[in-house]
Symmetry: C2
Subunit: 212 residues, 2 copies
DNA sequence: ATTTGTGAACGCATTCACAGCT
DNA sequence: AGCTGTGAATGCGTTCACAAAT
């Protein structure tokens, strides 16, 4: 019932992120309290789902009333570990890497992009539009250590992904977001999230196949 | 047991996409046959999972032997509807939209990016690095109709997403890949895949929270 | 009257285990 | 002997429904 390291399903942690987003919106709009139904409607979920997710971590609501928006927002931010910034590096400074570095959702959102890395000498030393520096991949391990980087985003071609992951993990990152179209092999204890555009498109295509 | 429109779980269709990728790799490497275990190892899945997924569509294997790589690759491509190209448009020609348009995974992969759209006059009329044109959003409906576009990718800020989706759907697309950090409201029959970078990072952050 | 927190019921996806085919 | 196809078993996440609290 409380926060043991993790008997928490990944699905719950992903919804927690949605809750945080709607709570921040509600707070910005001046809402004081919100019910599980209110949150559920905004996330297109079942209210019982919201209550069950939250109750895994404690009893934060008031029966008959609901949840205090500001308080719950802070609690959920704490659960997700976004109340303090985590440093992130991006390997691969092509179109995708640059787009990720400059993604507006990061600003003030608990993550700080420290640097991008690439092997192409013509872009090493340049900066992304918003000013994130592109370093040579040789500096990867040093910068991970110096800046205490926890998360690496992999935005290189599939053929390079395994090598990059080995260096990221060897360097000390604990979590990976992988955009390369391969299934990574990582040591026990390293968390991976795959963002696979091909899978999204092809699985979408399946459902569209026979429709006019 | 056969291909009724869809009592097929989304999880199965997503794995189908993985199978297609490893089958294409195997074929490229000259493999003639492959067992469910062979596929499963490459996808880091259980062999029974692979067999069960495939058996939803027919009996494609040979007992004691396995699956014919080239034949199964064609079958799976057909199931996913990527044996003929689907036209795609991308709304939002910022960093992300451009990166998506030029994503190498699309070439020869069953999808054709017809155009990008934006409201910013300074980029309307330009082209992405690989030559995809940026049109004004006013041309969206016309081009969807003329090119018979089936899929729209939403790469605009959260605040603009709802309006863009309404125009895409009104114009005639049947499927959406949404990169904006909002939960979309779409009519019955329109398929949506959300790619939410914030959710990926925050759910990752949860698992890293208490680790050194 | 309203809304939470939660045990129980349900539904669905994954895995097991084996009969059946080559 | 080897591997598929699949019914049965398992495991897990979601939803229901209600007692408890205000």
């Amino acid at each position: 019932m409380s926060d043991d390291q993790a008997r928490i399903p990944e699905a719950t942690t992903r919804r927690l992120s949605l809750y945080l987003r709607v709570l921040a919106d509600l707070e910005r709009n001046g809402a004081d309290t919100v019910s599980s139904r209110g949150i559920a409607d905004l996330c297109r979920l079942n209210p019982a789902q919201v209550r069950k997710d939250l109750s895994r971590f404690g009893a934060f609501g008031v029966r008959g009333v609901g949840y205090d928006v500001a308080e719950l927002r802070q609690i959920v931010a704490g659960l997700l570990g976004v109340d303090t910034d985590s440093r992130v590096v991006i390997v691969g400074a092509g179109n995708l890497g640059q787009a990720l570095a400059d993604y507006p959702g990061f600003h003030g959102g608990g993550f700080e992009v420290v640097a991008l890395f690439d092997v192409r000498e013509e872009i090493v030393g340049t900066m992304s539009r918003r000013g994130h520096p592109v370093h040579h991949i040789d500096e990867l391990e040093r910068i991970i250590r110096d800046a205490d980087v926890r998360i690496g985003m992999v935005a290189v071609p599939a053929a390079k992904a395994a090598e990059v992951v080995e260096r990221l993990v060897g360097g000390g990152v604990r979590g990976l977001v992988n955009f390369a179209p391969v299934r990574l092999d990582v040591p026990e204890g390293i968390a991976v999230r795959n963002v696979d555009l091909t899978v999204e498109l092809e699985s979408l295509s399946f459902f569209l196949r026979d429709r006019k």
